[in-house]
């Protein structure tokens, strides 16, 4: 038994999968660039703000990916598009600007690939993060009150102050405001809009 020949064999057999599933996508998918869309004349995928990049880290650090996916799967096999998760299939280039991409394995919570298209008001996100069960009765999402702080109202009420209903209202004279982390997270969530055209992701024909 030559251990050198065993390991050569192992390296080749297993290395094939490394070449195919790691090196190849690293070159082929990592190398894709944003481009000017012929259809809209603007850059796709559109640039993402620094706040959203920061928010991506908050999303990752708090394990949002363990409940929420960010993938829209194509027709005809999957019903993600008729269910309103997005106008088209998501493809590799949609994730180019996020490091890392959070594709997700489960939908304990709803898919967020296009949550920025469905919800456009930051105040909704803040309310939902502060007390999900009040905004979405029946939701099993935990509250993220640790992303907010309660502070005394100085003069005028802050623009960002959360309109709190339910058991966790602030003391009189106090207000609930999102921390910079929460603001970044909401900026990130609102940036999740995969509706721009990409040649490799054709939109399915519209149906009534």
């Amino acid at each position: 038994m030559k251990s050198s020949s065993l390991f050569l064999g192992v390296a080749i057999v297993f290395g094939l999968s490394w070449v195919g599933l790691v090196a190849y996508p690293y070159v082929e998918l990592g190398g894709v660039q944003p481009e000017v869309s012929e259809e809209t004349g603007s850059l796709v995928p559109p640039p993402v703000s620094g706040v959203a990049i920061e928010g991506q880290r908050v999303y990752a650090a708090n394990g949002c990916v363990y409940c929420h996916s960010q993938q829209v799967r194509p027709l005809p096999l999957f019903t993600d598009i008729p269910k309103g998760l997005g106008p088209r299939q998501t493809v590799a280039r949609d994730y180019l600007r996020y490091q890392p991409a959070s594709l997700g394995r489960v939908r304990t919570g709803p898919d967020l690939a296009n949550v920025g298209l469905r919800r456009t008001e930051a105040s909704w996100f803040y309310q939902h993060l502060y007390e999900p069960s009040v905004v979405s009765p029946g939701s099993n999402m935990p509250a993220y009150r640790y992303l907010f702080e309660e502070r005394e109202i100085q003069g005028q009420r802050s623009d960002l102050a959360v309109n709190v209903q339910g058991p966790h209202q602030p003391k009189p004279g106090y207000e609930i405001v999102p921390t910079p982390e929460a603001q970044a997270l909401v900026g990130y969530l609102m940036s999740l809009k995969r509706d721009y055209p990409l040649p490799e992701a054709p939109k399915p024909p519209e149906e009534g």
Partner: protein, 486 residues
């Protein structure tokens, strides 16, 4: 299939001098192996506890929502990390070290380096798990450990492997038994998997478009190769010994080894069927995941024929019962993965509680049952005898938990899957449908956690509390030049 094939090991003459030699070898690695096992069991308890917390939160969302430290999204990955990198990896390494010592027939002198490696591994994991809870996780499943912790684990691993290869190398020309081949190759694969994935996703920054393929490849390799090879190594070593028969077929074992290595590497994109991964990569993974049934069938056939009519005797014994159940759950897990890899099935079952149940079956059913069985088999040789009733109780507790996981995965997954698929059903209704099954999973996690506590107590008792007579009497005095680590 000639030169690079694991081949037979000559029968060790079972005379008394050989047995004495083996006892001597066992004593020389006793401290190191027990330290690995003790660390592993610590992480088993910690990881299961964290799983109970996150399982509770899925049923009662407001549970412990006061602090960032205990939020679901941190507790869940912390628990999984503890189970995979603490429990499964260290237990498998402990067993492998013993196995290599046995195969080499060498009495180990000096275990400072490997003990330090395991200490470093533990410290890195403590720091890493606390880091995940503190919000330093990467958000990539199973690559959550912060960069420095992952590096320290790889460093500890590297030192351990170097020591292992320098000290316990078999004699040149000595045939390689399949169990040892699985273990040694597992070491090689873990180094490749973990260093490659960390380099591309944690230590450096890669475009988000490649996160999916690399994390899929890594996660699939972590379970389908690293943990699978460690566990199969234990099964291939212990079951023939327990049955008192030679392994049925070298050919089937070799077949399983190479097909597992090939298809196991390619299965990673099965997590992203319909996802943002080029179609051919997904299709290749679907095929590979499906073809993994072949090595699983080869393993089950081979070990089944080896056991033969000794099966009922092995099932009666509290230790080998774990091993047999581990083998059965290995096959169930592989078939479960193949089932959900069929794209039509995936369109219903993917993203559901089915996937969570499958992970729990892999961790607790296949890996844990096998490695607990391996530890229990070695315990009487290293420690004192233990109460078989206790081992039996823990076995059935884990089986109850696994039964609940399997039920919620299949029935709950089916309900949740059709509700997610149906255009008419709103998302909050899906949450309602799946709720009872989350309660079942929670109960299952609770019973499994109770079993891990019982197992930890059994282990500690067996190691520290002397029985009336030593379980492993050593007939000859220990030679002067052998360092015995207590």
């Amino acid at each position: 299939m000639t030169a690079s094939t694991p081949t037979t090991q000559p029968t060790v003459p079972a005379d008394s001098s050989a047995a004495a030699r083996r006892a001597e070898v066992d004593r020389s690695v006793r401290g190191l192996v027990l330290f690995c096992f003790a660390s592993a069991i610590f992480w088993l308890v910690v990881g299961s506890f964290l799983q109970v917390i996150s399982g509770t939160q899925l049923v009662i969302p407001s549970f412990l929502d006061c602090a960032a430290f205990f939020t679901f999204g941190r507790v869940q990955p912390a628990g999984l990390t503890a189970l995979v990198f603490g429990w499964g990896s260290l237990a498998g390494l402990g067993f492998g070290i013993w196995q290599m010592a046995r195969a080499s027939g060498k009495v180990v002198r000096g275990v400072t380096l490997p003990v330090c490696s395991v200490i470093l591994w533990n410290l890195a994991l403590v720091g890493g798990v606390l880091g995940i809870l503190a919000g330093k996780g990467s958000g990539i499943p199973y690559l959550e450990l912060p960069g420095p912790a992952a590096f320290a684990i790889l460093l500890a691993f590297g030192l351990l492997v170097i020591w292992l290869l320098l000290t316990l190398r078999g004699t040149p020309g000595q045939p390689l038994y399949i169990a040892k081949a699985f273990f040694v190759v597992a070491l090689f694969l873990f180094a490749w998997l973990y260093s490659s994935a960390n380099t591309l996703l944690i230590w450096t920054v890669s475009p988000g478009s490649v996160t999916g393929p690399i994390e899929g490849w890594f996660e699939n390799g972590l379970f389908g190769l690293w943990l699978t090879f460690l566990s199969l190594s234990a099964l291939f070593y212990l079951l023939p010994v327990a049955a008192g028969r030679p392994l049925h077929s070298q050919g089937l074992a070799t077949f399983a080894f190479w097909t597992l290595l090939f298809f196991g590497g390619w299965g990673g994109m099965r997590y992203f069927i319909g996802g943002p991964i080029p179609a051919w990569m997904v299709s290749a993974s679907v095929v590979a995941t499906f073809l993994l049934i072949l090595p699983a069938l080869a393993v089950v056939t081979n070990l089944g024929r080896t056991i033969g009519d000794a099966g009922s005797r092995l099932w009666e014994a509290p230790t080998t019962r774990y091993l047999i159940a581990g083998l059965i759950f290995y096959f169930s897990w592989v078939v479960g993965c193949a089932f959900v890899a069929i794209p039509t099935v995936s369109s219903i079952f993917h993203f559901t509680i089915y996937q969570e149940g499958l992970t729990l079956i892999a961790i607790y059913g296949f890996v844990s049952l096998t490695l607990i069985g391996a530890i229990l088999t070695l315990l009487p040789r290293f420690g004192h005898s233990f109460n078989p009733a206790s081992a039996s109780l823990q076995f059935w507790l884990i089986i109850v938990g696994l039964g609940l996981f399997a039920t919620s995965a299949t029935i709950g997954g089916l309900l949740q899957g059709f509700a997610l698929y149906d255009v008419e059903v709103s998302f909050l209704n899906v949450v309602d449908y799946v709720f009872p099954f989350r309660v079942l999973v929670f109960v299952g996690l609770l019973t499994v956690f109770a079993a891990t506590l019982g197992f930890a107590a059994l282990f500690a008792r067996s190691v520290y509390v002397p029985a009336k007579e030593p379980a492993v009497p050593v007939s000859q005095p220990v030679p002067q030049n052998v360092e015995v680590v207590a």
